[in-house]
Amino acid sequence: MADELMHDLAAGYALDALSPDEERLFEAHLAHCPSCQAAVAAFVETAAELAFASPPVQEPAELRDRILAAARREGGTVVAIRPRWAYPALAAAAVAACLAIGFGVWAAVLQSRQASVAALRGIPVRGAAGSIVVGPHGEAALVVSGMAPPPAGKTYELWVMRGAAAEPAGLFAPHGKGTVVVRLTRRVPRGARVGVTVEPAGGSPRPTTRPIVVSAPL
């Protein structure tokens, strides 16, 4: 879809009035369109004003306790997958769009925005703007944006790291500075971390350099 048509979707996006297809297209566009990002930011603030025009009804007295109890059960370990607001660090819209691409069958889950999205976890990384997205069985993908291509003759290599051990989990080499999604070739057990090193083209069986990107433990 042409960019001009995309700009027209900013208001509908802020009002949550796009179809799932339109929303996906717009989010992919949003990730690299500063003027739409600015438009959405302004429209979202205004749309949120509409929330306050709702008629008065009494909220249930026990709702607060229920919410806090549910939060307590969750602990503080999970980072939301769909942070529509976080696009400075990591174009969140791009993440949502790329997740759909990167996770194949999970795309349907993400796009339908059902509760099962909760089965996916986002794990923060240090060293790049992005995160590791983990499925319920340790399936994982690295989603990063703005990562420079590796030096000539080199590649980036993913590792699943546990203690001192590191097992290779795939190679990648972003071309531009956009968002890339790399599905890991092996599952990531709980407590392990994901790392990225620069390796000679073709990859290495063991890391030969210090990781430039490391995730929090999964």
Binding site: D16, A53, P56, V57, Q58, I67, G75
Partner: protein
């Protein structure tokens, strides 16, 4: 907290994932009352339960009213609010104050979930967009007076919009209709709906800003 209201960084990740023992510097709820919304969100990002409670105290009622208006059903509305607050809890570390006010972020989380639900419940959405007044909240309490002022402020701005812009915004925002559904329902070209949304939001912003400048919302 000594001003540590920034976002959780990646290097905090390990700690966040670790123990949840109370820190000696945890503020009491009383302290939280003096913090900005954004600072309270930053505390929630550090898994401070009191911060989530504080956000509920500030916005729980508004969230529930919005959810009720969209989904109609009290039990569904409760689910929406609970899901939204859990999304706050999980997503607080990713909230970026430079991008939006925390209140707008919170209402967006509620709106999104409410719309998801109402789209699944076609039958419910077919109901006319009336306002439920059967169980009015007691608005005399000081803590909810501001909600009434807020409502009057936004309603006054809405009332000044051209009819078609207001209709489009209300059906989209409270009715959960997509722009294509609105084009069909209202018998207007899709391009018209899109520009009514665009212009409607722009005009609404202008009206709200003008009110704020005049301070006219303080009088009723």
């Amino acid at each position: 907290m000594r001003g540590s209201v920034g976002r959780a960084t990646a290097s905090d990740g390990g700690r966040l994932l670790g123990s949840r023992r109370p820190r000696p510097t945890v503020p009491t709820p009383r302290d939280l009352a003096h913090l900005s919304d954004e600072a309270v969100v930053a505390l929630a990002a550090r898994s401070e339960e009191a911060a989530l409670g504080e956000l509920y105290d500030r916005y729980g009622a508004a969230c529930y009213r919005l959810a009720r208006r969209i989904v109609r059903d009290p039990a569904l509305a409760e689910d929406v609010v609970q899901e939204a607050f859990l999304a706050i809890w999980r997503g607080a570390a990713r909230f970026v104050p430079e991008r939006a006010r925390a209140s707008a972020w919170i209402m967006t989380l509620v709106h999104r979930r409410a719309v998801d639900i109402v789209r699944r419940e076609e039958r419910r959405r077919a109901l006319p967009l009336g306002e439920d007044h059967d169980e009015r909240a007691d608005e005399s309490a000081e803590s909810v007076v501001w909600l009434r002022l807020e409502r009057e402020r936004v309603q006054r701005a809405l009332a000044q919009l051209p009819d078609q812009q207001r209709e489009t915004l209300e059906l989209a925002y409270y009715g959960g209709f997509t722009q294509s559904e609105l084009a069909e329902r209202l018998g207007r070209p899709l391009g018209t709906i899109k520009s009514q949304m665009f212009t409607g939001l722009q005009n609404l912003r202008g009206l709200i800003d003008a009110q704020a400048k005049e301070g006219s919302w303080q009088t009723s």
